[in-house]
Symmetry: C2
Subunit: 355 residues, 2 copies
């Protein structure tokens, strides 16, 4: 973890320095298998086990685009930043070795207000809570002033050589599965938007969730309605189980929405896919639309041979067959959905990955 | 490499997608030892050699803070972004396995203007030129819209287990060395600032280097005066040599300036240091002040036992002894400089690392 600022305008420096010393302390309090050297040198040093490959993913979050400072409590922004990266490791069947975090923040977000913690302090509360749950040390990063809040998360993991779950292994005849429930994150986001709109009507200004509501929502006992959006669960145990059993032929995490991520998986595998609408595990309070296109559920979408004996739960989370992989045929849509009305093209409408 | 945007406002998407397809093509055209899987899945996969540790570093660059869109040509911003990360690997004696780049950009910077390349296109020209020079594949990253231009660079490298150069190994009696020349980057930055001021006087508005001057400065045959600032050379060959010979007891790269980086090295090693002003290899056109505090030279600062036979050049670059490590004494400054006037405290005045 490096934090830079010109020495001259140093008014915030003591506070930031103290914070990072606390983070450094928390990050290195326990020793982590695989972490040889953490914060404090030019690089961190990680030691995978013999025969392991290294999995690396980065995800950039920008205020106003991936989160809203007036909608998302800082703990939630910190938690979700790390969850995005951990979920990518889960989709490869990798175990986390270490996380790295680059933060660019407006000065106001790094300052404590009287006896209240700073935004940055609370961000780290959420971040480190999830990091500890998955035994992932924060091994480095960068901190800088920025006119807009940005957080880039890097996760480094390890997976036995040649055993990573790839997007490219699906074959015609495979069944398609998802972990958990779909659409809950999108339904939560819709409720958050409604809360903000109603707060605006009452107050007559702004369109933000007032801090009083934010605070009420942040604790773990908040309404389930927002939990799937605020605190998605990266499926590391499930990805690791699939990888160790060699059951899955391909996998991807549902960050952009089922319709979009299924299309990515099909493109990389050179196959097509058919989903059964009736079999989709739709989260309570979510619509079929949200389950198909909502994104940010961070469940795993994976394929396995039809003859594979897939349990109905893995590490406590339901696993549901939702369709099948078919051959790609010229002039036919890559992804289709089967409803009462028959088969229709499933048009990707989630977030778009360019590659 | 993932680039995200909501599907609805998709006007820029084709251009961005085409660009990233080109990058993906260039990144994977050659196979790189150590890169198992590049752009296109949830994670990249890297394979270190048996007995190697993994070195990881991240550096965040923000427009207006680490570079200026009106001073630095886009190729230079791309080159320097990668140089920062490669230099951290050099300071550990690690060889690069792969780079990951997260970019947040205002839409205008991703658009080509008629037949002119976009800022983003030119950024990648500079980035990939340096990547190819050091056989470093771009294995992933993220692309997003952002109101301010931000670039977070991640470098992953490999180093034989237990052989990395650390900041913490310097011992009293060791000699202190630097590679190359000091202060050139700061002198170049000062010249760039003067150019901008003179452009402002002529034009009567703005304080920026006009594009015509920028274009004149970008080619490799530009004045040496700006080369050290625009195109610093990460000392990977020199760091790798020191690591393989086991000659150095500690190392750090000069990103923040000699006075600041030497203090970091001393803090991590629990020692003090004394520099001889007369022995400093000051770059042509640079002042002693710039050599001591300038930063961004990306040379290596390292220590070795006094009896070590250190060559005067390593891989074509001069290596100069500039002082010695001493015991840390209570009430005495950690770093001192010896001039004609005797020994004086050397106060760190470069960029400040919080940790």
């Amino acid at each position: 973890m490096r934090g830079k600022t010109k020495r001259t305008p140093q008014t915030d420096a003591p506070g930031e320095r103290a914070l990072i010393q606390r983070i450094r302390g928390r990050g290195s309090r326990k020793s982590f298998a695989g972490l040889v050297l953490g914060i404090g040198d030019d690089c961190a040093l990680l030691a995978p086990k013999p025969g392991e490959e290294i999995a690396v993913t980065t995800d950039l979050s920008i205020a106003g685009r991936h989160f809203r400072l007036d909608w998302h409590p800082p703990e939630v922004v910190g938690y979700r930043t790390l969850a995005r990266g951990l979920s990518d490791l889960a989709a490869m069947g990798a175990r986390p070795l270490a996380a790295f975090l680059s933060l660019g923040l407006p000065p106001a977000l790094t300052k404590a207000k009287g006896r209240k913690s700073s935004w940055l302090d609370l961000f780290f509360e959420g971040f480190l809570e999830l990091a500890q749950a998955h035994k992932t040390p924060l091994a480095g990063g960068d901190l800088s002033q920025s006119p807009v809040a940005v957080a880039d998360i890097v996760l480094v993991g390890a997976v036995p050589r040649g055993r990573a779950l790839l997007r490219s292994g699906a074959r015609a005849g495979d069944l398609i599965y998802v972990t958990g429930m779909l659409g809950g994150a999108a339904a939560g986001l819709a409720r958050l938007s409604a809360l903000a709109a109603s707060a605006k009507r009452r107050s007559g200004h702004g369109r933000s969730v007032p801090p009083s509501i934010q605070r009420k929502m942040a604790p773990k006992r908040m309404a389930d309605a927002l939990a799937a959006h605020f605190y998605p669960q990266p499926r590391l145990a499930q990805g690791g189980w699939l990888q160790s059993k060699g059951l899955a032929t391909s996998a991807i995490d549902l960050s952009d929405g089922l319709s979009t991520d299924l299309a990515h998986l099909c493109e990389e595998s050179g196959v097509a896919a058919e989903i059964d609408a009736a079999s989709l595990p739709i989260a309570q309070g979510a619509t079929l639309e949200q389950a198909l296109h909502g994104g940010e559920d961070y469940e795993l979408l994976f394929t396995a041979p039809a003859e594979a004996r897939m349990p109905s739960r893995v590490a406590g989370v339901p696993v549901t067959p939702i369709g099948r992989i078919t051959r790609k045929l010229r002039g036919r849509p890559i992804t289709t959905i089967r409803t009462e009305r028959g088969a229709e093209p499933l048009v990707p409408r989630g977030w778009e990955h360019f590659v």
